[in-house]
Structures are given as structure tokens and as C-alpha cells.
């Protein structure tokens, strides 16, 4: 038992670090990206189809690549940014790159799901586009934004296990190194349980937060 704990426990903060940093960057980059998609689309607040088509294409390309492939594809970039190709810090790069287009597309959907009448009311009151985005769109879709972030974090926990395949660190890494390569099934199970617990906690916190925030 002590052996299991001594192996699995240190992997948890590694996973949290990878997922935490990549989610944070994904939100910081993805939120404005989602807003630009929302604003520039046909009939959007400031329609600009050139901008929309470029961003839309970019998002589609990255979204259509399976994560395992993307991970290998961005390795040179990873080495350029982090200085090495594998390990916990290095894993943050592909995780972030896969999360940004995902979360941007989800945010775009959140914004599009808002009642058009509310936006129209804000326009009728003489709000400029930035004010509408800041004071109306963001505020009105906050519960959905929280759900999207929750979903992204859960996705990233899953994908952070895949980077274990190339020595990425974290729970996925020990599941492969001990469970798969050395046939130590107890470690594999323990890593699985840790991942499940993590996902459950994130889901629970996310759901409740979204509910508390939602006044509709």
C-alpha cells in the first residue's frame, strides 16, 4: 500500500499542474477568440467574414486532429518553447494547443445560445460592441462559460493521461510505466481511481458553481 501511495501520490500534482496551466492559458486565449468568432460571424455584432473564415478554418483544422497525433506534430514547437520534448512541463504545450480551439468553439456556442432579444435591447440602448461583449454577453453567459471550462478541464485530464505515452508525467504516465510496461496492475487501478476522483470533483464543483451563479 505504501508503495502504491509513494508512486501514485506524486503523480497527482503533476497532473494538476499540466491540466491547471493548460486550462488557464486555454481560457485566457480561448475567451477572446470565442468572442471574435461570435462577433465577426455573419450577422454578428461587427460582422467581418474574412476574420471569421480564417479563425473558423484554424479552429476546424486543430479540432479535427486526434490529440495523440497533434501531440507528436507539435513536438518541435514544444522543444522550442520549453527546451525539451517530454516531461510534465513539455506536456503543457500540446495540451494547451488542443484546448484552445475546443474552448473557443464552445464559448462561441455559449454566446450564440444567448437570447438575441437581450443583445438587441443592449444595441437599442446605444451600447458599442465592446460594452455589449463585456457587460452583457460575458455576464449573461457566465453559467454556460463555467460549464464549458468544467468540460474543458475534464477533457484535459483525459488527454493529460495520453501524454503519458510519450513520457509526459502525471497519472497517465505512471499508469503506462508501472501498470502497462511492468504489469503492476495495482498501480494501474490506483491511477485510474485517482483520475476518476479528480474528474468527479471537477464536475461537482463546476456544476454547483454554474448553478449558484445562474439567476435565470
Amino acid at each position: 500500500m505504501e508503495r502504491i501511495i509513494s508512486i501514485v501520490l506524486p503523480a497527482i500534482p503533476e497532473t494538476l499542474l499540466m491540466v491547471g496551466v493548460s486550462s488557464l492559458i486555454a481560457v485566457v486565449v480561448g475567451l477572446p477568440l470565442g468572442m471574435i468568432l461570435y462577433t465577426s460571424q455573419k450577422g454578428g455584432l461587427s460582422e467581418n467574414l474574412t476574420v471569421y473564415k480564417i479563425l473558423d478554418g484554424f479552429v476546424n483544422i486543430f479540432r479535427s486532429l486526434p490529440f495523440a497525433v497533434l501531440m507528436l506534430l507539435v513536438m518541435p514547437l514544444t522543444r522550442f518553447i520549453v527546451g525539451r520534448r517530454i516531461g510534465t512541463t513539455a506536456s503543457i504545450v500540446p495540451l494547451t494547443i488542443t484546448a484552445i480551439p475546443f474552448i473557443a468553439r464552445m464559448f462561441e456556442g455559449n454566446f450564440n445560445g444567448l437570447d438575441k432579444g437581450i443583445i438587441e435591447a443592449a444595441r437599442a440602448m446605444g451600447s458599442d460592441t465592446l460594452t455589449i461583449l463585456r457587460k452583457v454577453v460575458l455576464k449573461e453567459s457566465l453559467p454556460q462559460i463555467i460549464s464549458t471550462v468544467t468540460m474543458t478541464i475534464i477533457n484535459l485530464i483525459g488527454q493529460s493521461a495520453i501524454v503519458g505515452l510519450i513520457g509526459g508525467g502525471g497519472l497517465g504516465d505512471i499508469a503506462i510505466r508501472y501498470g502497462y510496461s511492468r504489469n503492476q496492475m495495482d498501480i494501474l487501478y490506483a491511477a485510474c481511481i485517482a483520475i476518476i476522483v479528480l474528474v468527479q470533483i471537477v464536475q461537482l464543483v463546476g456544476n454547483n458553481l454554474a448553478k449558484i451563479v445562474d439567476k435565470k
Binding site: G126, K215, K216
Partner: protein
């Protein structure tokens, strides 16, 4: 105050051009409540959205207080919109903001300081009688209350004009009356000019000074409420005045479709209040089948109504029943 000239709005897709507004011109005077009435799809919502350029007009001019709205650049347009309030059928309140925050929003975006915002919001809450709902969210208040918040929000910046897009259509009669009273008092208190879009003649009748009737993107008739009611010039206007229940009268029954005899009974003030059908059913051997009917209260207090019924039985019984009805002063017409 508002001058609209030859306004056209077309919606295009790849193959079709839809002319939603077809060469519309009208003028609205200061302090006037101007109604635009029409069926859904007549183009009235599009028309009112052109006035603050939520929709860009295809051609024509809109002049408000001498300023041509069409020519305004982006920044001036935002300024202009701030002096035109707007309320909607679905209220369109910010759901994640309290009543207070909703009313404060238009004040915040014009850069008013906090203290002044607070005073203005309190004043508006007082005007719409919702002081106790200040910290409630829209989901916690009723439809009528939501529209009152929307009115407070629209009037907070003291606009010169209020555009009302079917603002009472989602409300029950009691709330409708309350909202209309509120709009009337806002005309007096804030010297507003209101453009009122509606499909309810009741609403137009009770608040508007003048009415424009819209059909297929065109204004087919504009006049004072009195004149519109006294001498409507078009069929559409007449049908609005007759209002929905009367439409039934146009329903045509084919006597061939019925086994018995079809009768149309007309009542007036003297006969409408007596239990004539009750007597008929009790005394006659015929079976009585009610097909349609209506009673109208006319403006001078008189009553006029009709019933279409089917009488089934032997010819003698039917004859007797008709005689009995005629004796009661009912005008009987065999169809």
C-alpha cells in the same frame, strides 16, 4: 418630430429579395402616441427597427428632431440611440442582473457617476412602482413587473422617443392595462413621443392619438383613432375594428351539409337578455344544435347579436318553433 420618407427595407438572400418595408412615409408629432397596427409579418417590427437603425434601411430617409438618422456615423448613431428608448414583447431584460442593475445599465454606458445613477434608478423604480423589487432578478418577478422594469430601463436616460414593439402582447388584460397607463403617464411626465407597434386594436384604441394600418410592408391608412373607427377606408382596417370574435360571423354554413333546418337568429337589446334558447328547447319537440353565435356591445351601449342553429324534427315541429321564436321578437332567417 419624426419624419419618415419613402422608407424601403429589403432582405436579400442568394435568390430572393423580400421587400419588408415598401415605400413607407409618415410623420409623428411631438408628444403624440402613434400606433402602427398590422398582422404579424406586415413589416411593423422591421419598420420600427429601422428608426433606430437596428435594421439598416435600404433606401428612404428618417429624420428625428431635424437630424437625419440615415447619415449618422457609428459614434453619432450610438448617441442617437440613447435618446430613443425601446421596449419589447419579451421584455429582454438582462437575466443575470438584478432589477436595479438592469435600470442602471443605460446610465452606466453614458458614463454617469455612481451617485447620480443611484438617484435616477430610485426615481425610475418609484415611477414604475417597483421599489421593493430592486434586488430581485427578472426570473423572480411576474411578466407585468418585467415590462415595468423594461420601461424604467428604457426611460432612465430620459429619451425623447419611446419605441414600443408589441410591449403588451405577452401580457394578460389586467397587466396590459397597467402598462398602457404607465405609458400614458410617461407621455405626460417625461414629455415623450411614443411609437406603438401592436396587433391588438384594443391597445391601439386605448392609447394612440393616431393610427397607421400596415399591410404587406405598406401603410394603407393613417388617421386619428376617431376617424379610423368612424370611417375605416380599407378592408384590413375594418377587420381590425371588428376585432377577432366577429370574424366568426363570416363563417358560412352550407345547409346541404346538415340534416335539419339551418336558422340564423338575430337579437337586439330587448331580446338578447331573455332566455330564448332555453324556452325553445323546453317547449319545442325539435332537437336544437348551436353552430355559432356572438354578441356585440356597441359603443352607444346597444347590443346586437346572432345565433346560427340547426333545428331537427318534423316539418310541423320546426314550423312551430320558428313561430315561437318570431313571437319573442327574434328575427328568424331560414338559411
Amino acid at each position: 418630430m419624426i419624419k419618415v420618407k419613402n422608407l424601403v427595407k429589403e432582405f436579400r438572400n442568394d435568390t430572393d429579395v423580400l421587400r419588408a418595408i415598401d415605400d413607407v412615409s409618415f410623420e409623428v408629432n411631438k408628444g403624440e402616441v402613434f400606433g402602427i397596427i398590422g398582422l404579424s409579418g406586415a413589416g411593423k417590427s422591421t419598420l420600427v427597427r429601422c428608426l433606430n437603425r437596428l435594421e439598416e434601411p435600404t433606401s428612404g430617409t428618417i429624420e428625428i428632431d431635424g437630424v437625419c438618422i440615415n447619415d449618422l456615423d457609428k459614434k453619432s448613431l450610438l448617441e442617437a440611440r440613447r435618446s430613443i428608448g425601446m421596449i419589447f414583447q419579451n421584455f429582454n431584460l438582462f437575466n443575470q442582473s438584478t432589477v436595479y442593475e438592469n435600470i442602471a445599465y443605460p446610465l452606466e454606458i453614458i458614463g454617469m457617476d455612481k451617485k447620480e445613477i443611484e438617484e435616477t434608478v430610485e426615481e425610475m423604480l418609484d415611477f414604475v412602482d417597483l421599489k421593493d423589487k430592486k434586488n430581485s432578478y427578472p426570473s423572480e418577478i411576474s411578466g407585468g413587473q418585467k415590462q415595468r422594469v423594461a420601461i424604467a430601463r428604457a426611460l432612465a436616460t430620459k429619451p425623447k422617443i419611446l419605441l414600443s414593439d408589441e410591449s403588451t402582447s405577452a401580457l394578460d388584460p389586467a397587466n396590459t392595462e397597467q402598462i398602457l397607463n404607465l405609458l400614458k403617464s410617461s407621455v405626460e411626465r417625461y414629455n415623450m413621443t411614443i411609437i406603438m407597434i401592436t396587433h391588438q386594436m384594443e391597445v391601439a384604441k386605448s392609447i394612440c392619438d393616431r393610427i397607421a394600418v400596415m399591410e404587406d410592408g405598406r401603410i394603407i391608412e393613417t388617421d386619428t383613432v376617431e376617424n379610423i373607427f368612424k370611417s375605416p377606408k380599407t378592408e384590413r382596417t375594418k377587420s381590425f375594428i371588428k376585432s377577432l370574435p366577429d370574424v366568426l360571423e363570416d363563417e358560412v354554413f352550407d345547409p346541404e351539409d346538415f340534416k335539419g333546418k339551418l336558422l340564423r337568429l338575430s337579437f337586439d337589446s330587448s331580446t338578447a337578455k331573455r332566455p330564448i334558447m332555453n324556452d325553445l328547447i323546453k317547449t319545442s319537440n325539435c332537437t336544437v344544435n348551436l353552430l355559432s353565435g356572438n354578441i356585440n356591445r356597441l359603443r352607444n351601449g346597444d347590443v346586437s347579436g346572432y345565433l346560427t342553429i340547426e333545428l331537427d324534427g318534423s316539418p310541423e315541429d320546426i314550423e312551430a318553433a320558428i313561430d315561437a321564436l318570431t313571437r319573442q321578437n327574434v328575427v328568424v332567417e331560414v338559411l
